[in-house]
Symmetry: C2
Subunit: 222 residues, 2 copies
DNA sequence: AAGTAGACTTACTTGCGAGTAAGGTCGGCG
DNA sequence: CGCCGACCTTACTCGCAAGTAAGTCTACTT
Protein backbone atom coordinates (compact mmCIF):
# COMPACT_ATOMS: atom_id res chain seq x y z
CA UNK A 1 0.00 0.00 0.00
CA UNK A 2 2.51 2.56 1.15
CA UNK A 3 4.79 3.07 -1.74
CA UNK A 4 8.25 1.81 -1.19
CA UNK A 5 10.73 3.66 -3.32
CA UNK A 6 12.07 0.72 -5.25
CA UNK A 7 11.22 -2.58 -3.70
CA UNK A 8 7.64 -3.40 -4.56
CA UNK A 9 6.22 -1.18 -7.26
CA UNK A 10 2.67 -1.57 -6.06
CA UNK A 11 1.26 1.33 -8.00
CA UNK A 12 4.07 3.75 -8.62
CA UNK A 13 4.54 5.65 -11.80
CA UNK A 14 5.69 2.79 -13.91
CA UNK A 15 8.14 3.81 -16.52
CA UNK A 16 7.42 1.91 -19.67
CA UNK A 17 9.09 1.69 -23.05
CA UNK A 18 7.40 3.56 -25.80
CA UNK A 19 6.14 0.52 -27.68
CA UNK A 20 4.28 -0.73 -24.63
CA UNK A 21 2.94 2.64 -23.60
CA UNK A 22 1.63 3.30 -27.07
CA UNK A 23 -0.48 0.18 -26.95
CA UNK A 24 -1.84 1.16 -23.56
CA UNK A 25 -2.76 4.56 -24.92
CA UNK A 26 -4.58 2.92 -27.79
CA UNK A 27 -6.39 0.61 -25.37
CA UNK A 28 -7.59 3.59 -23.38
CA UNK A 29 -8.46 5.57 -26.48
CA UNK A 30 -10.61 2.79 -27.88
CA UNK A 31 -12.57 2.70 -24.64
CA UNK A 32 -13.15 6.42 -24.52
CA UNK A 33 -13.83 6.93 -28.22
CA UNK A 34 -16.29 4.08 -28.08
CA UNK A 35 -18.08 5.48 -25.08
CA UNK A 36 -18.25 9.11 -26.13
CA UNK A 37 -17.70 9.26 -29.87
CA UNK A 38 -14.78 10.97 -31.54
CA UNK A 39 -15.74 14.53 -30.99
CA UNK A 40 -16.95 14.24 -27.42
CA UNK A 41 -13.97 12.19 -26.33
CA UNK A 42 -11.51 14.19 -24.28
CA UNK A 43 -7.81 13.55 -24.65
CA UNK A 44 -7.22 14.18 -20.96
CA UNK A 45 -9.55 11.35 -20.08
CA UNK A 46 -7.75 8.99 -22.42
CA UNK A 47 -4.44 9.97 -20.92
CA UNK A 48 -5.66 9.47 -17.38
CA UNK A 49 -7.09 6.07 -18.25
CA UNK A 50 -3.75 5.12 -19.74
CA UNK A 51 -2.04 6.20 -16.53
CA UNK A 52 -0.10 9.11 -17.99
CA UNK A 53 -0.59 12.76 -18.80
CA UNK A 54 -1.79 14.39 -21.97
CA UNK A 55 1.50 15.51 -23.51
CA UNK A 56 2.59 11.88 -23.75
CA UNK A 57 -0.34 11.19 -26.00
CA UNK A 58 0.67 14.03 -28.28
CA UNK A 59 4.31 13.01 -28.19
CA UNK A 60 3.52 9.48 -29.29
CA UNK A 61 0.47 9.87 -31.49
CA UNK A 62 0.80 13.42 -32.76
CA UNK A 63 -2.78 14.65 -32.54
CA UNK A 64 -6.27 13.61 -31.56
CA UNK A 65 -6.95 12.77 -35.15
CA UNK A 66 -3.79 10.70 -35.41
CA UNK A 67 -4.74 8.90 -32.24
CA UNK A 68 -8.14 8.06 -33.62
CA UNK A 69 -6.76 6.89 -36.93
CA UNK A 70 -4.29 4.65 -35.12
CA UNK A 71 -7.15 3.14 -33.13
CA UNK A 72 -9.23 2.42 -36.20
CA UNK A 73 -6.28 0.89 -38.01
CA UNK A 74 -5.33 -1.38 -35.14
CA UNK A 75 -8.85 -2.48 -34.33
CA UNK A 76 -9.93 -3.16 -37.87
CA UNK A 77 -6.76 -5.14 -38.47
CA UNK A 78 -7.58 -7.20 -35.40
CA UNK A 79 -11.11 -7.91 -36.52
CA UNK A 80 -10.05 -8.83 -40.02
CA UNK A 81 -7.38 -11.09 -38.60
CA UNK A 82 -9.88 -12.86 -36.36
CA UNK A 83 -12.28 -13.26 -39.23
CA UNK A 84 -9.62 -14.50 -41.64
CA UNK A 85 -8.09 -16.93 -39.22
CA UNK A 86 -11.45 -18.55 -38.63
CA UNK A 87 -12.50 -18.52 -42.26
CA UNK A 88 -9.22 -19.68 -43.72
CA UNK A 89 -9.75 -23.19 -42.49
CA UNK A 90 -10.61 -25.60 -45.27
CA UNK A 91 -13.99 -27.03 -46.00
CA UNK A 92 -16.99 -25.88 -47.95
CA UNK A 93 -17.72 -22.15 -48.22
CA UNK A 94 -20.77 -22.76 -46.12
CA UNK A 95 -18.70 -23.91 -43.18
CA UNK A 96 -16.14 -21.21 -43.71
CA UNK A 97 -18.79 -18.53 -43.76
CA UNK A 98 -20.17 -19.95 -40.55
CA UNK A 99 -16.76 -19.89 -38.95
CA UNK A 100 -16.12 -16.36 -40.11
CA UNK A 101 -19.41 -15.06 -38.81
CA UNK A 102 -19.00 -16.89 -35.54
CA UNK A 103 -15.59 -15.31 -35.16
CA UNK A 104 -17.13 -11.97 -35.95
CA UNK A 105 -19.81 -12.29 -33.32
CA UNK A 106 -17.34 -13.60 -30.84
CA UNK A 107 -15.02 -10.70 -31.48
CA UNK A 108 -17.75 -8.12 -31.25
CA UNK A 109 -19.17 -9.61 -28.08
CA UNK A 110 -15.79 -9.65 -26.44
CA UNK A 111 -14.40 -6.40 -27.84
CA UNK A 112 -17.48 -4.31 -28.11
CA UNK A 113 -15.55 -1.06 -27.83
CA UNK A 114 -13.42 -2.00 -30.75
CA UNK A 115 -16.40 -2.61 -32.98
CA UNK A 116 -18.16 0.55 -31.95
CA UNK A 117 -15.09 2.65 -32.65
CA UNK A 118 -14.53 1.31 -36.12
CA UNK A 119 -18.14 1.03 -37.22
CA UNK A 120 -20.44 3.32 -35.34
CA UNK A 121 -18.86 6.70 -35.60
CA UNK A 122 -20.86 9.54 -37.00
CA UNK A 123 -19.63 10.82 -40.34
CA UNK A 124 -17.86 13.58 -38.54
CA UNK A 125 -15.36 15.99 -39.91
CA UNK A 126 -11.98 15.25 -41.35
CA UNK A 127 -11.23 13.72 -44.71
CA UNK A 128 -8.59 11.70 -42.95
CA UNK A 129 -10.99 10.19 -40.44
CA UNK A 130 -13.74 9.58 -42.95
CA UNK A 131 -11.26 7.87 -45.24
CA UNK A 132 -9.88 5.66 -42.52
CA UNK A 133 -13.34 4.60 -41.39
CA UNK A 134 -14.34 3.88 -44.96
CA UNK A 135 -11.23 1.79 -45.43
CA UNK A 136 -11.94 -0.19 -42.28
CA UNK A 137 -15.49 -0.91 -43.34
CA UNK A 138 -14.34 -1.85 -46.80
CA UNK A 139 -11.82 -4.33 -45.54
CA UNK A 140 -14.40 -6.06 -43.37
CA UNK A 141 -16.91 -6.04 -46.19
CA UNK A 142 -14.36 -7.44 -48.61
CA UNK A 143 -13.77 -10.45 -46.39
CA UNK A 144 -17.45 -11.25 -46.16
CA UNK A 145 -18.04 -10.61 -49.83
CA UNK A 146 -15.30 -13.05 -50.70
CA UNK A 147 -16.85 -15.83 -48.70
CA UNK A 148 -20.35 -15.15 -49.93
CA UNK A 149 -19.08 -15.10 -53.49
CA UNK A 150 -17.49 -18.47 -52.93
CA UNK A 151 -20.78 -19.79 -51.60
CA UNK A 152 -22.61 -18.50 -54.63
CA UNK A 153 -20.09 -20.02 -57.00
CA UNK A 154 -20.41 -23.36 -55.27
CA UNK A 155 -24.16 -23.43 -55.58
CA UNK A 156 -24.03 -22.14 -59.12
CA UNK A 157 -25.43 -25.24 -60.73
CA UNK A 158 -29.02 -24.22 -60.31
CA UNK A 159 -31.24 -22.22 -62.58
CA UNK A 160 -30.43 -18.85 -61.03
CA UNK A 161 -27.33 -16.95 -61.93
CA UNK A 162 -25.91 -14.63 -59.32
CA UNK A 163 -22.90 -12.44 -59.80
CA UNK A 164 -20.46 -10.27 -57.95
CA UNK A 165 -23.08 -7.61 -57.40
CA UNK A 166 -25.25 -10.11 -55.60
CA UNK A 167 -22.42 -11.20 -53.39
CA UNK A 168 -21.85 -7.59 -52.46
CA UNK A 169 -25.51 -7.16 -51.71
CA UNK A 170 -25.62 -10.17 -49.44
CA UNK A 171 -22.40 -9.14 -47.74
CA UNK A 172 -23.84 -5.74 -46.93
CA UNK A 173 -26.97 -7.33 -45.60
CA UNK A 174 -24.96 -9.78 -43.51
CA UNK A 175 -22.66 -7.19 -42.01
CA UNK A 176 -25.52 -4.83 -41.25
CA UNK A 177 -27.54 -7.60 -39.71
CA UNK A 178 -24.56 -8.68 -37.66
CA UNK A 179 -24.00 -5.16 -36.44
CA UNK A 180 -27.59 -4.74 -35.41
CA UNK A 181 -27.62 -8.15 -33.79
CA UNK A 182 -24.84 -7.12 -31.46
CA UNK A 183 -27.50 -5.00 -29.81
CA UNK A 184 -29.84 -7.96 -29.66
CA UNK A 185 -27.10 -10.01 -28.06
CA UNK A 186 -26.76 -7.48 -25.31
CA UNK A 187 -30.33 -8.14 -24.30
CA UNK A 188 -29.91 -11.89 -24.59
CA UNK A 189 -26.76 -12.70 -22.70
CA UNK A 190 -27.67 -16.35 -22.63
CA UNK A 191 -27.09 -16.67 -26.36
CA UNK A 192 -23.54 -17.56 -27.29
CA UNK A 193 -21.98 -16.05 -30.39
CA UNK A 194 -22.18 -19.46 -32.00
CA UNK A 195 -25.89 -19.71 -31.32
CA UNK A 196 -26.47 -16.29 -32.81
CA UNK A 197 -24.49 -17.31 -35.85
CA UNK A 198 -26.60 -20.38 -36.33
CA UNK A 199 -29.74 -18.30 -36.15
CA UNK A 200 -28.41 -15.87 -38.70
CA UNK A 201 -27.27 -18.64 -41.03
CA UNK A 202 -30.71 -20.13 -40.76
CA UNK A 203 -32.33 -16.97 -41.95
CA UNK A 204 -29.87 -15.80 -44.56
CA UNK A 205 -27.98 -18.77 -45.83
CA UNK A 206 -31.03 -20.92 -46.22
CA UNK A 207 -32.59 -18.04 -48.10
CA UNK A 208 -29.66 -17.72 -50.42
CA UNK A 209 -29.43 -21.42 -51.00
CA UNK A 210 -33.06 -21.63 -51.94
CA UNK A 211 -32.88 -18.64 -54.20
CA UNK A 212 -30.06 -20.36 -56.02
CA UNK A 213 -32.20 -23.47 -56.25
CA UNK A 214 -34.88 -21.46 -58.01
CA UNK A 215 -37.26 -20.48 -55.26
CA UNK A 216 -37.45 -16.84 -56.15
CA UNK A 217 -39.68 -14.53 -54.18
CA UNK A 218 -41.58 -11.88 -56.01
CA UNK A 219 -43.88 -9.17 -54.91
CA UNK A 220 -47.45 -10.45 -54.54
CA UNK A 221 -49.28 -7.71 -56.38
CA UNK A 222 -50.19 -4.09 -55.95
CA UNK B 1 -46.00 32.60 -51.48
CA UNK B 2 -46.95 35.95 -53.00
CA UNK B 3 -43.96 38.20 -53.26
CA UNK B 4 -44.26 41.33 -51.26
CA UNK B 5 -44.45 44.16 -53.75
CA UNK B 6 -41.85 46.25 -52.03
CA UNK B 7 -38.09 46.03 -52.25
CA UNK B 8 -35.45 43.59 -53.44
CA UNK B 9 -36.21 39.92 -53.89
CA UNK B 10 -32.54 39.51 -53.13
CA UNK B 11 -32.84 39.44 -49.37
CA UNK B 12 -36.37 38.51 -48.46
CA UNK B 13 -36.09 38.93 -44.76
CA UNK B 14 -39.32 37.12 -44.11
CA UNK B 15 -40.89 37.28 -40.73
CA UNK B 16 -42.51 33.97 -39.98
CA UNK B 17 -44.79 32.74 -37.23
CA UNK B 18 -43.16 30.60 -34.63
CA UNK B 19 -44.72 27.32 -35.69
CA UNK B 20 -43.38 27.68 -39.21
CA UNK B 21 -39.97 28.90 -38.20
CA UNK B 22 -39.57 26.03 -35.77
CA UNK B 23 -40.05 23.54 -38.54
CA UNK B 24 -37.50 25.32 -40.70
CA UNK B 25 -35.05 25.22 -37.84
CA UNK B 26 -35.61 21.51 -37.48
CA UNK B 27 -35.12 21.04 -41.21
CA UNK B 28 -31.79 22.81 -41.04
CA UNK B 29 -30.78 21.01 -37.87
CA UNK B 30 -31.42 17.59 -39.37
CA UNK B 31 -29.18 18.47 -42.28
CA UNK B 32 -26.34 19.71 -40.14
CA UNK B 33 -26.57 17.04 -37.46
CA UNK B 34 -26.60 14.42 -40.14
CA UNK B 35 -23.58 15.84 -41.89
CA UNK B 36 -21.44 16.52 -38.85
CA UNK B 37 -22.77 14.47 -35.98
CA UNK B 38 -24.25 15.91 -32.81
CA UNK B 39 -21.14 17.14 -31.16
CA UNK B 40 -19.44 18.59 -34.21
CA UNK B 41 -22.57 20.35 -35.38
CA UNK B 42 -22.48 24.07 -34.74
CA UNK B 43 -25.63 25.90 -33.76
CA UNK B 44 -24.61 28.98 -35.71
CA UNK B 45 -24.49 26.94 -38.89
CA UNK B 46 -27.95 25.55 -38.24
CA UNK B 47 -29.28 29.04 -37.61
CA UNK B 48 -27.73 30.40 -40.77
CA UNK B 49 -29.11 27.55 -42.82
CA UNK B 50 -32.53 28.27 -41.37
CA UNK B 51 -32.14 31.90 -42.35
CA UNK B 52 -32.09 33.35 -38.85
CA UNK B 53 -29.65 34.02 -36.06
CA UNK B 54 -28.62 31.82 -33.19
CA UNK B 55 -30.68 33.31 -30.35
CA UNK B 56 -33.86 32.36 -32.19
CA UNK B 57 -32.83 28.74 -32.01
CA UNK B 58 -32.36 29.01 -28.28
CA UNK B 59 -35.58 30.93 -27.84
CA UNK B 60 -37.61 28.28 -29.63
CA UNK B 61 -35.79 25.05 -28.81
CA UNK B 62 -34.10 25.86 -25.53
CA UNK B 63 -30.71 24.28 -26.02
CA UNK B 64 -28.63 22.33 -28.46
CA UNK B 65 -29.70 19.17 -26.72
CA UNK B 66 -33.35 20.15 -26.91
CA UNK B 67 -32.92 20.90 -30.56
CA UNK B 68 -31.44 17.51 -31.21
CA UNK B 69 -34.11 15.72 -29.24
CA UNK B 70 -36.79 17.55 -31.19
CA UNK B 71 -35.15 16.45 -34.44
CA UNK B 72 -35.01 12.83 -33.41
CA UNK B 73 -38.61 12.86 -32.26
CA UNK B 74 -39.93 14.43 -35.43
CA UNK B 75 -37.88 12.30 -37.80
CA UNK B 76 -38.56 9.01 -36.12
CA UNK B 77 -42.27 9.80 -36.04
CA UNK B 78 -42.11 10.48 -39.75
CA UNK B 79 -40.37 7.23 -40.52
CA UNK B 80 -42.73 5.22 -38.37
CA UNK B 81 -45.67 6.93 -40.03
CA UNK B 82 -44.36 6.09 -43.49
CA UNK B 83 -43.74 2.52 -42.49
CA UNK B 84 -47.11 2.12 -40.83
CA UNK B 85 -49.06 3.69 -43.65
CA UNK B 86 -47.53 1.29 -46.12
CA UNK B 87 -47.81 -1.75 -43.91
CA UNK B 88 -51.33 -1.09 -42.67
CA UNK B 89 -52.83 -2.06 -45.98
CA UNK B 90 -54.56 -5.39 -45.90
CA UNK B 91 -53.28 -8.61 -47.35
CA UNK B 92 -50.98 -11.31 -46.13
CA UNK B 93 -48.18 -10.47 -43.71
CA UNK B 94 -45.76 -11.28 -46.46
CA UNK B 95 -47.11 -8.49 -48.64
CA UNK B 96 -47.36 -6.11 -45.74
CA UNK B 97 -43.79 -6.74 -44.76
CA UNK B 98 -42.78 -6.09 -48.32
CA UNK B 99 -44.69 -2.84 -48.39
CA UNK B 100 -43.24 -1.76 -45.07
CA UNK B 101 -39.70 -2.48 -46.11
CA UNK B 102 -40.18 -0.81 -49.45
CA UNK B 103 -41.49 2.26 -47.66
CA UNK B 104 -38.51 2.11 -45.39
CA UNK B 105 -36.03 1.99 -48.25
CA UNK B 106 -37.90 4.67 -50.07
CA UNK B 107 -37.90 6.90 -47.05
CA UNK B 108 -34.23 6.37 -46.33
CA UNK B 109 -33.27 6.94 -49.94
CA UNK B 110 -35.21 10.15 -50.09
CA UNK B 111 -34.56 11.46 -46.58
CA UNK B 112 -31.10 10.18 -45.96
CA UNK B 113 -30.34 12.93 -43.44
CA UNK B 114 -33.30 11.95 -41.38
CA UNK B 115 -32.19 8.36 -41.13
CA UNK B 116 -28.62 9.23 -40.33
CA UNK B 117 -29.68 11.54 -37.55
CA UNK B 118 -31.92 9.07 -35.84
CA UNK B 119 -29.87 5.95 -36.33
CA UNK B 120 -26.21 6.68 -36.88
CA UNK B 121 -25.27 8.89 -34.01
CA UNK B 122 -22.44 7.86 -31.77
CA UNK B 123 -23.55 6.96 -28.25
CA UNK B 124 -22.49 10.40 -27.19
CA UNK B 125 -23.06 12.04 -23.89
CA UNK B 126 -26.35 12.93 -22.33
CA UNK B 127 -28.83 10.56 -20.78
CA UNK B 128 -31.50 12.57 -22.51
CA UNK B 129 -30.03 12.09 -25.97
CA UNK B 130 -29.19 8.45 -25.44
CA UNK B 131 -32.71 7.80 -24.23
CA UNK B 132 -34.31 9.57 -27.14
CA UNK B 133 -32.21 7.70 -29.66
CA UNK B 134 -33.00 4.42 -27.96
CA UNK B 135 -36.68 5.24 -28.04
CA UNK B 136 -36.52 6.05 -31.73
CA UNK B 137 -34.77 2.81 -32.54
CA UNK B 138 -37.19 0.89 -30.40
CA UNK B 139 -40.22 2.33 -32.14
CA UNK B 140 -38.85 1.41 -35.56
CA UNK B 141 -37.87 -2.02 -34.36
CA UNK B 142 -41.29 -2.57 -32.82
CA UNK B 143 -42.99 -1.96 -36.15
CA UNK B 144 -40.81 -4.47 -37.93
CA UNK B 145 -41.07 -6.99 -35.13
CA UNK B 146 -44.83 -6.81 -35.31
CA UNK B 147 -44.91 -7.63 -38.98
CA UNK B 148 -42.35 -10.37 -38.72
CA UNK B 149 -44.25 -11.89 -35.85
CA UNK B 150 -47.39 -11.88 -37.96
CA UNK B 151 -45.50 -13.63 -40.72
CA UNK B 152 -44.27 -16.26 -38.32
CA UNK B 153 -47.71 -16.82 -36.92
CA UNK B 154 -49.13 -17.24 -40.40
CA UNK B 155 -46.59 -19.86 -41.35
CA UNK B 156 -46.92 -21.57 -37.99
CA UNK B 157 -48.39 -24.75 -39.33
CA UNK B 158 -45.03 -26.35 -39.99
CA UNK B 159 -42.86 -28.46 -37.77
CA UNK B 160 -40.84 -25.56 -36.41
CA UNK B 161 -42.10 -23.39 -33.61
CA UNK B 162 -40.86 -19.85 -33.51
CA UNK B 163 -41.73 -17.34 -30.85
CA UNK B 164 -41.54 -13.69 -30.00
CA UNK B 165 -37.83 -13.93 -29.42
CA UNK B 166 -37.32 -15.17 -32.95
CA UNK B 167 -39.40 -12.34 -34.37
CA UNK B 168 -37.22 -9.91 -32.50
CA UNK B 169 -34.12 -11.57 -33.81
CA UNK B 170 -35.29 -11.40 -37.39
CA UNK B 171 -36.42 -7.80 -36.95
CA UNK B 172 -32.99 -6.81 -35.72
CA UNK B 173 -31.38 -8.58 -38.63
CA UNK B 174 -33.75 -6.92 -41.06
CA UNK B 175 -33.31 -3.43 -39.74
CA UNK B 176 -29.55 -3.79 -39.58
CA UNK B 177 -29.41 -5.21 -43.07
CA UNK B 178 -31.61 -2.41 -44.30
CA UNK B 179 -29.41 0.18 -42.68
CA UNK B 180 -26.28 -1.24 -44.20
CA UNK B 181 -27.95 -1.60 -47.57
CA UNK B 182 -28.59 2.11 -47.69
CA UNK B 183 -24.86 2.37 -48.25
CA UNK B 184 -25.03 -0.24 -50.96
CA UNK B 185 -27.82 1.71 -52.61
CA UNK B 186 -25.65 4.78 -52.80
CA UNK B 187 -23.23 2.90 -54.98
CA UNK B 188 -26.00 1.42 -57.10
CA UNK B 189 -28.21 4.35 -58.00
CA UNK B 190 -29.90 2.30 -60.68
CA UNK B 191 -31.60 0.12 -58.12
CA UNK B 192 -34.94 1.41 -56.99
CA UNK B 193 -36.02 1.00 -53.38
CA UNK B 194 -38.52 -1.57 -54.56
CA UNK B 195 -35.84 -3.58 -56.31
CA UNK B 196 -33.69 -3.54 -53.20
CA UNK B 197 -36.63 -4.68 -51.15
CA UNK B 198 -37.23 -7.60 -53.48
CA UNK B 199 -33.60 -8.62 -53.17
CA UNK B 200 -33.76 -8.46 -49.40
CA UNK B 201 -37.02 -10.39 -49.26
CA UNK B 202 -35.45 -13.01 -51.45
CA UNK B 203 -32.63 -13.53 -49.04
CA UNK B 204 -34.40 -13.21 -45.73
CA UNK B 205 -38.01 -14.03 -46.22
CA UNK B 206 -37.33 -17.11 -48.27
CA UNK B 207 -34.95 -18.19 -45.55
CA UNK B 208 -37.52 -17.69 -42.85
CA UNK B 209 -40.21 -19.42 -44.79
CA UNK B 210 -38.05 -22.45 -45.35
CA UNK B 211 -36.95 -22.58 -41.77
CA UNK B 212 -40.58 -22.66 -40.80
CA UNK B 213 -41.11 -25.46 -43.30
CA UNK B 214 -38.45 -27.50 -41.57
CA UNK B 215 -35.32 -26.81 -43.53
CA UNK B 216 -33.10 -26.05 -40.59
CA UNK B 217 -29.48 -25.25 -41.10
CA UNK B 218 -26.98 -26.55 -38.66
CA UNK B 219 -23.29 -26.22 -38.34
CA UNK B 220 -21.49 -28.81 -40.50
CA UNK B 221 -18.87 -29.98 -38.05
CA UNK B 222 -15.86 -28.36 -36.52
C1' DA C 1 -51.45 57.47 -34.29
C1' DA C 2 -49.88 55.12 -30.49
C1' DG C 3 -49.12 51.13 -28.00
C1' DT C 4 -47.91 46.36 -27.75
C1' DA C 5 -46.43 41.78 -28.58
C1' DG C 6 -43.74 38.85 -30.84
C1' DA C 7 -40.18 38.17 -34.44
C1' DC C 8 -35.48 39.07 -34.82
C1' DT C 9 -30.59 40.99 -34.14
C1' DT C 10 -25.79 42.44 -32.58
C1' DA C 11 -22.51 41.80 -29.49
C1' DC C 12 -21.09 40.07 -25.87
C1' DT C 13 -19.46 36.35 -21.65
C1' DT C 14 -17.78 32.01 -20.43
C1' DG C 15 -16.01 27.54 -20.18
C1' DC C 16 -13.94 23.85 -22.21
C1' DG C 17 -10.60 21.34 -24.52
C1' DA C 18 -6.77 20.81 -28.19
C1' DG C 19 -2.26 21.56 -28.39
C1' DT C 20 2.50 23.26 -26.36
C1' DA C 21 6.61 25.19 -23.74
C1' DA C 22 9.61 24.27 -20.53
C1' DG C 23 11.23 21.71 -17.62
C1' DG C 24 11.62 17.51 -13.98
C1' DT C 25 13.18 12.44 -12.95
C1' DC C 26 15.45 8.24 -13.58
C1' DG C 27 18.62 4.60 -15.25
C1' DG C 28 22.65 3.51 -17.74
C1' DC C 29 27.30 4.20 -19.18
C1' DG C 30 31.77 6.65 -20.04
C1' DC D 1 30.81 11.25 -10.66
C1' DG D 2 28.49 13.60 -14.67
C1' DC D 3 25.96 13.69 -18.65
C1' DC D 4 22.77 11.73 -21.95
C1' DG D 5 18.66 10.19 -23.61
C1' DA D 6 14.18 8.20 -22.48
C1' DC D 7 10.18 8.85 -20.14
C1' DC D 8 7.04 11.94 -18.03
C1' DT D 9 4.99 16.20 -15.76
C1' DT D 10 2.99 20.91 -14.45
C1' DA D 11 1.20 24.78 -16.14
C1' DC D 12 0.20 27.33 -19.39
C1' DT D 13 -2.03 29.63 -24.43
C1' DC D 14 -5.68 30.22 -27.35
C1' DG D 15 -9.49 29.50 -30.35
C1' DC D 16 -14.02 27.99 -30.77
C1' DA D 17 -18.64 27.37 -29.74
C1' DA D 18 -22.68 27.26 -26.22
C1' DG D 19 -25.47 30.23 -24.24
C1' DT D 20 -27.28 35.21 -23.04
C1' DA D 21 -28.26 40.31 -22.23
C1' DA D 22 -30.24 43.89 -24.15
C1' DG D 23 -32.13 45.93 -27.51
C1' DT D 24 -34.42 46.78 -32.64
C1' DC D 25 -37.89 46.27 -35.91
C1' DT D 26 -42.52 45.41 -37.76
C1' DA D 27 -47.37 43.79 -37.94
C1' DC D 28 -51.43 44.16 -35.69
C1' DT D 29 -54.81 46.04 -32.57
C1' DT D 30 -57.61 49.86 -30.67
Amino acid sequence: MTDKPDDKPDKPRRRLPRSVREQEILDAAVQVFSKRGYRAAVVDEIAELAGISKPMVYLYLGSKEGLFVACVRRESARLVAAFREAADAGGPPEGRLWAGLAAFFGYVAEHRDSWVVMHRQAPEQGEEIAGELAAARRSVMAEVTGLVGAGIAEGGGGPIKLGAEDAEFVAHALVGAADSLTDWMERHPGESPEAVTVRLMNVMWVGMRNVLAGEVWSRPEG
